[in-house]
Every structure is written in C-alpha cells, then in structure tokens.
C-alpha cells in the first residue's frame, strides 16, 4: 500500500492529512506553534501512530499554507489555492456536488476561488493584509464576550435580529463590539451581527470573482453554523461545508496532489 501526506500550515492551525491510493485515512489539526516544522512533524507522528503507520511507509509529502517552505521534509510544496481546489473537488465528488465556487475562511486570510466546469481554477480573490472578515476576528470577539470560539455559532442562532457592525476593519470592529457590550446588547445579536459582517465582506469578494453554484465553504470558521447561515443569506444560495472537519480540505488536497505527482513520476 502507498501512503501520501499533505501538510497545511496555516496561521492558526496546522493540518495534516494522510491518504492512500483510494481514500482518506485520517487527519489531524493542531495549533501552529512557533516552530512550524516541529509542530508539523509532531502532528504527523501522532497521526501515523494512530493509524499504525511508519514514516517510512510514506511515498511522498506535499506541504502548503503560509509555512509550506519551512517544512524541510516535504517532497514538494504547493500554493494553498491549488491544494484547496483539489481537496474541495475531492469532497465534492464524494458527496455528489459539483463545486464551482470555493470560499475559504482561514485564521488570517480569506479567499474565494472560482472553478470552471472542468475543475480548473478560473479566478480567485484574497483579502490583502487585513484581518477583517477572518477567523481571527471571530476569536477576538469570543475573547471580548468571554465565550469559547466554538460556542459562537450556537449562540448566534438564538438572535432575533442581528446587530449591524458597521466597521469592516477588525480593530475598529473590536471597539464597536466593546461599545455594544457596554450598551447591554444581547450577546447573541452581537455575534450574529459579526457573522453577517464577515459574510457580507466575503460575499462582496465572491461577487468580484463571480458566484456560481454550488458553493463550497471551508476553513476553520466553517464549523460555525451561525456563520454558515449568514453566508447563505448574504450569498443568497446554498452553501456546502465538507462533512466533519472543514479545516482539513486543503491538507487533504495537498496529500492528493502528493499522490498524483508520485503516481505520475512513477508510471
């Protein structure tokens, strides 16, 4: 059996995925540490151990994400756009969805990728050096409201009417949220408001690229049901999130690319 590894080193978390010739065997998400390579290696070891595999069994490793060049043991590295597309298409195939638009929300970035009906990347847009409308913003808000980031979705769904957050800048939005808290606004409505503000930003970016159904939404914040609802409302279309762990799409994509490359070289 041949095994392939994809490593996605993001600003917030590092994702590792293992695939064989047929399917995904497993994945792991850990917080990105100071030393990217060590974190990645540790995560990989844990995963391999769980799957009872040895590093020697691995045919090829592809890294992606911000820290992709720091992973010295990787055989190749690739941009997260390509890896994301690859992973998303694979998940799409598994669930019978033809993915045409990918919206990825990371810890510090967000991107929208348009794919044509052949599965080829047509166009993409990314946020530029600004944390507005990223996962980091959600974390900041959770901190201000003194709740866990994972609770945001559930709480926000209780909101009657989301409160409009006017500031798009993460820093200003932070102070806006603080003032809303001071004015004794409901947490649920503040959070829902923040979700809509992110969704609005993303949908504006998506409109530049062009939204075509189906829309695939991944990245850590895609775990947040409230955000998904906001995205669906703002994009006015159904949004698909990969089952169970939406963060690992890119890592899976990287692993699949490692497999493809290996197979191509050795055929």
């Amino acid at each position: 059996m041949s095994y392939y590894i994809g490593i996605d080193i993001g600003s917030a978390t590092t994702k590792v995925a293992v695939v064989d010739d047929e399917t995904i065997l497993g994945h792991k998400v850990v917080p990105t540490g100071v030393h990217c390579e060590e974190t990645a290696r540790d995560a990989l070891d844990l995963l391999l151990h769980k799957l009872s595999l040895r590093f020697e069994d691995i045919k090829s490793v592809t890294s992606t994400g911000y820290g992709r060049r720091l992973v010295k043991f990787a055989n190749s590295n690739i941009s997260e756009i390509s890896a994301n597309v690859k992973g998303a298409l694979w998940y799409g195939e598994q669930t019978g969805i033809q993915v045409r638009t990918i919206i990825n929300l990371g810890g510090q970035d967000s991107k929208v990728i348009a794919i044509d009906d052949q599965g080829v990347t047509k166009n993409f847009a990314m946020n530029d050096k600004c944390a507005a409308g990223t996962g980091r913003f959600l974390e900041t808000m959770a901190r201000i409201l003194e709740i866990n980031v994972t609770e945001l979705g559930e709480i926000s769904l209780e909101a009657d009417v989301p409160i409009r957050i006017n500031s798009t800048c993460a820093v200003f939005a932070e102070s806006e949220i603080i003032s809303l808290v001071a004015r004794k606004k409901l947490k649920s409505e503040i959070i829902a408001g923040a979700h809509y503000s992110i969704a609005k930003r993303l949908s504006r970016m998506a409109k530049r690229v062009g939204i075509v159904d189906q829309v695939f939404f991944d990245g850590g914040p895609a775990l947040n049901d409230g955000l998904i609802k906001a995205m669906e409302d703002e994009l006015a279309t159904d949004v698909y999130v990969p089952p169970s762990v939406p963060q690992v799409t890119t890592a899976v994509g990287a692993a699949l690319i490692a497999r493809d490359e290996y197979q191509k070289e050795n055929s």
Partner: protein
C-alpha cells in the same frame, strides 16, 4: 445546515437576504431614534409599526375584519374612495436600501431607488403586506412609475391612474375627474362594494378628522424651541402609510396632547441654538432616515419638511360644497390634483409659495434640498428653487444621494459645514 434549508429556492434565499439585512437596518435606525433621548412617550405607538419591519412586516398593517388591502403609490390616490368601499389603503412607497438591488433586475441602474425598492418588495416575499394587496393603484406621476405599473402587473393586478401635467387647465381637470370616476368603478368591482353617498361622506369626514390632528400636529411643530424632533415627526407621518386612519388619528391625538403639555412645561428636544432646517425634495420613507439622522446628529433640528410623504400628505382637504355624490367626487378629484406641489406639474408656482410660507411659519434658517439619484422631477426643479431661496435670502444645500449608506460620512461633513454656516450667519 439542515436538509430543510437546502430546499429553499433562489427566490426564498434572496428574500431571506433582504429580510435579514432590512431587519438589521431597522434595528440600527430604531436604536438611533431611541438615542435621541427625551422622546415623547406616545411615540411608542409609531415605533411599534416600524419595528415590525424587523420581522417581515408581520403586523405592520393590521386589517380589520374583512378589510381588503389596496396598495397605493403616490399621494395622488384618493384614499377617501378606498375607505368608502370598506377597503384599506396602504401606501407602498418604500425607502429600503436592501430591496433596491432586487429592483435593479427590472429597471436600469439610473432609475430612482424608491421605485427599485418598491419593485424589490413586490418581487420577493420580504414584507408580507406587499403581497396581501387586492390591487395596486399607480398614478402616472413620474416616468418611473409609468413603467413600474407594467412591471408590477407581473405580481398583482395594477390599476393605472393617468395624470394630467398642466393642472391649471380645464381639460386637465375634466380628464382627472374622469380618471377618478374610472378608479371608483374599478374599486367597486374589486371590492364588490358600491360607494354610496353616505359611505363617501363618512369616509371624507373620517379623513378630515385625521387632518384635524395633522394640522394640530404641525401647528405644534412650529413651537420654538421645538418639542419634537424632525425624525419623530417624519415617523408619525410615515406611520399613516400603514395604519388605519382612525387608529392613526387617535394615536396622533394622544401625541398632540403630550406635545402641548411639553410646550407648557417648556420641554426641549434640541440644543438651544441648533440650526433650524427644512428638508424638501424627493420623498423620504422609512428606513431611509439617513439625511434626517445626520442633520439632527450634527446639531441641527429638522423643524419642517415639504415631502409628499410627510407635510404634504394630509395638508390639503376635501371641501364638500353641495354634498351630492358628484359634488363630493368632484371635490375629491380637486383635492388631489389642484393644490398639489408635486414637481411633475408644469408650473412650480404653488410649490414655491408653499416653501416660502413654510420658511416663514417655521422660522427656517436653511433648506436642504434632497434629490434621490434618478428622481428627475425634483432634480429638474433644483435651479428654480435655488433661485427662489437666493431671493428669499435663505441658504440652500443640495444633496444628491440614494439609499446606500456609502456616502454617509461625506454627507455628514457637508451637512455639518452647512449648519455651521447657518449659525455663523446669525452674527
């Protein structure tokens, strides 16, 4: 994501988008309104009406038992006739930014945001009362409305009322009278109720009673310093769109009592020395509260307005002469056509005199002339009004905007500077 949400159609999805964004806007504006502080207690009645916009317009219009809803656009639609058939007029002119985008699918970008917004609400199930109308009545007042009728007929039966433009002429008046009579026939058919002399007399008097309170309210607004803010005044008038005239009259009566009490107790709502502003131009409908909010946040006070959605709405009254059926119909036709200060008419003399009179009555220091992008009738009249204000010695600021919030900060700077100049002029 549940299976159920997956089943939503594109139309429902779009409706949800507009709905949630509208709710957010309304909540934001209601917050700003409440931030004014020192509001009359009786404003709560009117707030409730607009708060329903947060929940898809449920309860905005509360039809009485068996009451059919007739949607109207413009104040040229004679409401006396609708009430006389036992139906309920609901004015559908709208000010929501959220539905403008939907309307753009039907009209060119240059169209005025009001018609776009209205079409958006008719096209999508966002506000329920837009979809409960038995019939829509559209006066051919401006070019956009003429075409809008055709577009809206896709969603509901539309009755078009043709409008003359030279209201001074005999032929125009005869023509309009015929249009009013044609409207009566259509109304009777749609509602299945014949308008009798007694019914018409009662409905004329019912609206006249509302006008008693309307005029009393506007006399109160003349008080210096003002006892009610311009935004609250606009809200009271805007509530008339959706409320039954009798309920509205009762609520305004209570409010008026409270306001008169305020005059006696010298309660103030604006800082002493705030610039006294009059707004005129293209109509403003909730939630398009952008300009009035800026005016009042920037140390101005909106003491008067000349909008068909507010001060012009109930100003003119039906004068019954001999009291026969045809006399009443004639009186109604005249009331809607002749004193109208709408810029669609060929002669602006009535509007000019009205503005001058308002400036005198309300001690206006500066006029803000509001033009919605694409609202040609008001745009065309700008120069004429500019000249008039120059002659009167009252500074005027022309603002061209739409429903989008993007230009708020620019407008804020301009309006603040304008109001500072006004205060500087006092010497």
């Amino acid at each position: 994501m549940t299976e159920q949400t997956k089943k939503l159609t594109k139309r429902e999805r779009l409706a949800n988008k507009v709905k949630v964004n509208l709710a957010m806007s309304v909540r934001e504006i209601m917050d700003q309104i409440n931030d004014q502080g020192n509001r009359p207690e009786n404003m709560a009645y009117f707030d409730r009406i607009f708060e329903t916009f947060e929940h898809g317009g449920e309860g905005t219009v509360q039809p009485r038992k068996g009451e059919k809803i007739i949607g109207t656009y413009c104040l040229f639609v004679p409401e006396e006739l609708i009430y006389a058939t036992g139906a309920r007029p609901v004015r559908l002119c709208s000010g929501a930014y959220e539905s403008v985008e939907i309307g753009e699918d039907y009209l060119p970008e240059g169209a005025c945001p009001m018609v776009k917004s209205e079409i958006g609400f008719s096209a999508l199930p966002v506000l329920s009362f837009f979809h409960q109308c038995e019939m829509l009545v559209m006066p051919a007042s401006c070019d956009w409305k003429v075409k809008m009728a055709e577009i809206l007929s896709e969603f509901a039966p539309v009755h078009m009322m043709d409008m003359p433009r030279v209201k001074e002429e005999e032929s125009s008046r005869a023509f309009w009278l015929e249009e009013v009579k044609r409207f009566i026939k259509r109304l009777e058919k749609v509602t299945g109720v014949r308008i009798t002399r007694r019914r018409l007399k009662q409905s004329i008097q019912m609206i006249q009673r509302a006008q008693v309170e309307f005029h009393r309210f506007h006399r109160i607004r003349k008080a210096t310093p003002p006892v009610i803010t311009g935004r609250d005044a606009l809200e009271v008038m805007n509530a008339y769109f959706y409320d039954h005239v009798e309920d509205w009259t009762a609520a305004v009566s209570k409010l008026n009592d409270e306001l008169e009490e305020r005059i006696r107790n010298q309660v103030q709502v604006a800082r002493v020395g705030a610039a006294r502003i009059m707004l005129t131009g293209s109509p403003m409908v909730f939630p398009n509260w952008k300009v009035p909010t800026i005016i009042e946040e920037m140390d101005g006070v909106l003491v008067a307005d000349e909008f068909c959605t507010s001060n012009r709405y109930l100003n003119d009254m039906v004068a019954v002469d001999e009291g026969t059926m045809s006399d009443m119909v004639h009186a109604i036709a005249d009331r809607y056509l002749l004193p109208s200060t709408c810029p669609i008419f060929s002669n602006s003399v009535d509007r000019k005199d009205r503005l001058l009179q308002l400036i005198d009555d309300y001690q206006v220091e500066g006029v803000i002339y509001h033009i919605l992008k694409g609202c040609h009738p008001y745009d065309v009249e700008t120069k004429i009004i500019e000249k008039l204000m120059e002659g009167k010695g009252v500074p005027m600021l022309k603002i061209e905007t739409d429903y989008s919030p993007q230009d708020v900060e620019q407008l804020r700077t301009r309006i603040e500077a304008f109001q500072e100049t006004l205060k500087g002029r006092r010497g």
